[in-house]
């Protein structure tokens, strides 16, 4: 890290590889190699709809190994596309790995990626043009798992249906993603969450229409282990140290600059600020998030760690403490008003993932941010059922709808108010 000739790309690559290898080592340390491998294999044929906490299903080792391999799949795709690592790709890898703890597997994401590739080729684009859509579009991995393992089909037909369904899903995602961007105009960071949620409505309705009834089993690990509790805080500290080493005396000045960016899509903090500032920001978000989880006495399980890793990833692509606290405050206020415990699954995930709406606070101020968070909680507690839990970025879906509502009102007011 201290090599002054090391460029941004190399530093980021090392950070990502250290993170992904650490996941495997931490999992092996907790569960042992054999149990981890067995758990990993079990996850590949397990339903993955929300909320299936892989830590509860397969143990820490299997879940962490799965998360790491999902992250490595993302890294390999980025390298194959010839795209330089930066804010959005860093966010994508951490998000993919994070959701590898509760829904994504290397097997259920690849058909979607291939579908996005076909879509790109149809309109004479290269895969790299749609790379971000492919990486984040893996949020619909549980749809493929549903088709393969929940419909009760014989093995070969089940695999063929899942493969075809996954490719078709990926094929349609780019077209929807562009429309959804215009809907909220970049004020919902998880645009693929809105995209996948929208697609998921149709997929869920179709599957239900064909006679399938979704089981509503929820797996939510509520135990504790030192590996689960310490992983995110330790990784966060390492990011801060890496940021300070790579940026030297300018590190905190760069961080200060990042805190002035509203965060609207696409805000690559590595480009608009610096790599050092982005890494420190990412680490700070992980630390603050972990402290919040600790204070409300929520478990550090698969979904919670996955959520923390996701917002840390977006610490290089739109989220920072200054633009996210109003939204989180809104979620906490809504949770308290409705009488829900802060550490119950819905509110705890909403508090973490509500930072998808950070750009609203960054652009329009504290009050719209708090309001967005308040609305978001109520929405996200409903939207999961709409798509049968098949869209892992359920908060991105609810956040997109919330952003669209708020943006519509502000836009109407600004564009219709007489100026002349």
């Amino acid at each position: 890290m201290t090599n002054i000739n090391m460029n941004k790309k190399d530093t980021l690559l090392i950070v990502i590889i250290v993170f992904l290898v650490s996941l495997i080592l931490a999992g092996f340390a907790e569960s042992g190699v054999e149990e981890s491998l067995r758990g990993f294999l079990m996850l590949q044929i397990h339903p993955a709809r929300l909320i299936n906490d892989f830590v509860e299903i397969s143990g820490v080792g299997g879940a962490f190994l799965n998360a790491s391999l999902v992250g490595f799949t993302g890294l390999i795709l980025i390298r194959m596309a010839g795209i330089q690592l930066s804010g959005p790709t860093y966010a994508a890898i951490l998000t993919m790995a994070g959701f590898g703890l509760f829904g994504k597997t290397p097997i259920n994401i690849l058909p979607i990626v291939f579908g996005v590739y076909l879509s790109a080729r149809l309109v004479n684009k290269q895969f790299k043009d749609y790379l971000i859509i492919a990486l984040f579009g893996t949020a619909l991995g549980p749809l493929i798992s549903t088709l393969a393992w929940e419909l009760g089909l014989p093995l070969i037909p089940a695999l063929l249906v899942a493969l075809a369904g996954g490719v078709a899903t990926g094929f349609f995602l780019p077209s929807i993603a562009f429309s959804m961007l215009h809907l909220h105009q970049g004020y919902n960071l998880y645009n693929m969450g809105l995209t996948c949620g929208f697609f998921g409505l149709f997929a869920s309705a179709l599957i239900k229409g064909l006679g399938h009834t979704y089981s509503t089993n929820m797996f939510w690990y509520s135990g504790s282990s030192i590996v689960l509790t310490a992983f995110v805080p330790v990784f966060s500290l390492l990011l801060i140290i890496a940021g300070i080493f790579s940026g030297g005396k300018h590190s905190f000045k760069d961080l200060k600059e990042i805190l002035t960016i509203p965060g609207r899509l696409p805000s690559d903090f590595v480009d608009l600020g610096s790599l050092a500032g982005s890494l420190i920001n990412s680490g700070l978000i992980g630390l603050f998030g972990s402290i919040y989880i600790y204070i409300i006495d929520a478990p550090f399980n698969g979904p919670v760690i996955g959520g923390l890793l996701t917002i840390m990833g977006f610490g290089a692509f739109g989220t920072h403490i200054k633009n996210s606290w109003p939204v989180v405050t809104g979620v906490i206020a809504a949770t308290l008003v409705t009488g829900n415990p802060l550490n119950s699954p819905g509110p705890v995930l909403a508090a973490i993932f509500s930072t998808t709406l950070s750009p609203l606070a960054g652009e329009f101020g504290i009050f719209p941010g708090i309001l967005a968070g308040f609305i978001h909680l109520h929405m996200v507690l409903q939207t999961g059922a709409w798509h049968g839990g098949m869209n892992l970025y359920n908060n991105g879906f609810a956040g997109g709808l919330t952003a669209a509502l708020i943006v519509s009102v502000i836009q109407w007011y600004r564009t219709n108010k007489e100026e002349f």
């Binding site: 971000i132 859509i133 562009f178 105009q185 696409p266 480009d271 502000i410 600004r414």
Partner: protein
């Protein structure tokens, strides 16, 4: 994307940027060739050296196909928030921002893989 739509998006974003400072005059000139185009925008507003430097940097930012191919769809389409020149920068071959007597002139050159710079007055790269 059809060329007409693409040009409209570019003009939308760059003119949105210029109009934010409420100029008394804005001129847009377009010169098209088979594989590329030259867009020139002139205004009559005062601009600081720092702003011109920032514009030049944003418009000549490194190519980001993964962002241009996806988020580039927002170019010139947004009605809220400030305009963002980096959305343009990812898609340009070259850009220049120069002072005129009363304001600035922004030259944007765009083109596909077959772009022939000889047909345009694009400056030689040093």
């Amino acid at each position: 994307m059809k060329r007409k739509d693409f040009v409209l998006q570019l003009i939308g974003e760059i003119s949105s940027y210029i109009l934010e400072e409420d100029p008394m005059r804005m001129v847009i000139s377009l010169h098209q060739e088979t594989d590329g185009l030259h867009l020139c925008i002139i205004d009559d507003n005062e601009h600081s050296d720092a702003e011109i430097e920032k514009m030049t940097k944003a418009l000549n930012s490194r190519k980001r196909p993964e962002l241009a191919g996806y988020y580039g769809a927002m170019t010139g389409q947004d009605l809220l928030g400030s305009s963002r020149l980096n959305l343009l920068g990812w898609q340009l071959k070259h850009a220049d921002v120069t002072r005129t007597g009363s304001g600035i002139k922004i030259d944007l050159w765009l083109g596909g893989d077959g772009f022939d710079s000889q047909k345009f007055t694009i400056p030689e790269k040093e």
